[in-house]
Amino acid sequence: AQSVTQLDSHVSVSEGTPVLLRCNYSSSYSPSLFWYVQHPNKGLQLLLKYTSAATLVKGINGFEAEFKKSETSFHLTKPSAHMSDAAEYFCVVTQYGAGSYQLTFGKGTKLSVIP
């Protein structure tokens, strides 16, 4: 079975300061990991993905995430927050090779950016 734990339900940062959204995963097989973002009244947009290539993954809008197998973590970071980053962020896992490609979502982290 696979699962995802997003450690913070709400993170608040000031504009221009770093962002850290934490995610831990559990997977019996080699995982693929994703971060999706959902702006208010919008659909889910893929920010970045890890699929067993480089452990440091760069995504859109300056976000990046590092896959750490020893810590079973896939934290999302950005050096400098922008007002437009305010949204809900979902860490997602799927199990490559287990015959199942359903995505398992974390509960989400709401990011607020203070001017």
Partner: protein, 115 residues
């Protein structure tokens, strides 16, 4: 850029009525999915579909749910007799293949309200 579309954006129905939610996946994609997000909860997998049949379904996807690809472009989710607890945002997703590029592209969602 190609995108997944969903109609309607918002559907209000009375308990016990049938609803059909429609999705148009990205044209060269072969795998299709439905997810739902009850207000305040995480996104949950419902069903995956490939080659005109269900490939995987969750416990949520019981006999009141069905999916269909009635023509070459649409992918539908039918709820036969809606219950109050079916009120949720329903997301359609599609992917090009199961291995290699595992990215699922999401539509903007249909908000279903059952009264």
């Amino acid at each position: 850029e190609p995108e997944v579309t969903q109609t309607p954006s918002h559907q209000v129905t009375q308990m016990g009525q049938e609803v059909i939610l429609r999705c148009v996946p990205i044209s060269n994609h072969l795998y299709f999915y439905w997810y739902r997000q009850i207000l305040g909860q995480k996104v949950e997998f419902l069903v995956s579909f490939y080659n005109n049949e269900i490939s995987e379904k969750s416990e949520i996807f019981d006999d009141q749910f069905s999916v269909e690809r009635p023509d070459g472009s649409n992918f539908t989710l039918k709820i036969r007799s809606t219950k109050l607890e079916d009120s949720a945002m329903y997301f359609c997703a599609s992917s090009e293949r199961r291995t290699g590029n595992l990215e699922q592209y999401f539509g903007p969602g249909t908000r279903l309200t059952v009264t």
